[in-house]
């Protein structure tokens, strides 16, 4: 399977992390948090956001709160598939891959649980909220995750999966 890129959005509509792999077989060939990806990030966010609001409107209310709402899991285009994982706190994890696998839910869950929570949320020195003033909300924020532990562990985890 080939992973093209990985994105994290927060509840302020900002992209707080993106990583792209240009040569799929070499995990370190990619770019992390590059400026060129900013527009792509916004488009991706807009795509996910719109489709999500549509599915919310067309699906019926769940019977009880534990049977979860009907949410998007993946969006497929002609050349790639975007897999989505969202948390109740408003973080979206998106993985752009090829068609080899239908569902990357488990992988994204693992990234959230063992890498994101461990190195970002529970790390007291890293900010819990990447927005520092009102201007950076609503998709205009610029801060990214730069935590080396997080980046290294992410690469370590994803590189064996990239064949």
């Amino acid at each position: 399977m080939t992973i093209y890129s990985f994105w994290i959005f927060d509840k302020h509509c900002n992209c707080i992390f993106d990583k792209e792999w240009t040569i799929p077989s070499q995990p370190r060939s990619g770019t992390t948090n590059s400026k060129q990806n900013e527009n792509v990030a916004k488009l991706l966010y807009g795509l996910i956001f719109s489709l999500r609001s549509i599915t919310d409107k067309i699906s019926s209310d769940p019977v009880d709160f534990l049977s979860q709402k009907n949410r998007i899991r993946s969006i497929t285009t002609g050349k790639c598939r975007v897999h989505l994982f969202e948390t109740a706190t408003g973080f979206w994890f998106a993985l752009m891959t090829d068609f080899k696998q239908d569902d990357y839910y488990d992988i994204l869950n693992h990234i959230y649980k063992n890498i994101f929570v461990r190195f970002i949320s529970l790390n007291y020195i890293s900010p819990s909220d990447f927005v520092e003033n009102e201007d950076e909300k609503g998709g205009q924020g610029i801060r990214k995750i730069n935590n080396k532990n997080f980046i290294n562990n992410l690469e370590l985890f994803l590189s064996p999966l990239i064949s």
């Binding site: 509840k11 302020h12 509509c13 916004k42 966010y45 807009g46 956001f49 769940p62 019977v63 009880d64 709160f65 534990l66 979860q68 709402k69 948390t87 109740a88 706190t89 408003g90 973080f91 869950n109 959230y112 649980k113 994101f116 929570v117 949320s121 529970l122 007291y124 819990s128 909220d129 909300k137 609503g138 998709g139 205009q140």
Partner: protein, 196 residues
């Protein structure tokens, strides 16, 4: 929501809480935990010169910082989605959240008329094991005020703006330790700013 479905849901939450506590949580010695928290409060009393209002605020702030982070840990462990109503929130807090982190199940009581406020009654608070408040602290210090901050921070991250405060505390001589949680409003999710 019919009451039998409600009961079923509560049972499921209870089972979830116990299962996560037993299998997925690392445990530490409770005395170490109690003593660590005790030294924090005692040191704050020294640093702020026994100005107990300030100490209450400081504990609340500390709790808030813990809360905004611990909610992610909680969601990662339990994979629960956002609650549909405040009733469910109260059940999740009592049967899953407190269970997973402290192995406590506080009882829910004193629902308000409009169903937007409830109390949690904590029967044996691990933070206050062996603690005896000095006489000047008994009138104004809320020893476990960190709980209020944690709940406020955590609930805020799931878009619930709440006021959390202590009503009574056994350490102060009251009959029970009671925490009151009041929902102010549900915060709206942000939408991207539209650029021309």
């Amino acid at each position: 929501m019919s009451s039998s479905a409600g009961q079923q849901q509560i049972k499921t939450l209870k089972v979830l809480g116990e299962d996560v506590w037993k299998n997925k949580v690392e445990k530490i010695n409770s005395e170490l935990f109690t003593l660590t928290y005790g030294t924090i409060v005692s040191q704050l009393c020294q640093d702020y010169d026994r100005d107990f209002e300030k100490i209450n605020d400081e504990l609340y702030k500390m709790g808030y910082n813990i809360g905004v982070r611990i909610i992610e840990d909680f969601l990662a462990r339990t994979a629960l989605p956002r609650c549909t109503d405040f009733n469910t929130t109260s059940e999740v807090i009592s049967k899953v959240a407190f269970k997973v982190f402290l192995n406590l199940t506080p009882t829910i009581a004193n629902w308000s008329q409009s169903n937007d406020a409830f109390s949690l009654i904590i029967s044996d608070n691990p933070l206050s094991d062996f603690v005896e408040l000095p006489i000047d602290a008994m009138k104004s210090l809320w020893y476990s005020n960190v709980y209020c901050g944690v709940l406020k921070g955590a609930l805020e991250m799931v878009q619930l703006d709440c006021d959390v405060s202590f009503v009574s505390d056994i350490l102060r001589g009251d009959n029970q330790t009671e925490l009151r949680i009041k929902l102010n409003k549900v915060l709206k999710d942000e939408i991207p700013v539209i650029e021309d």
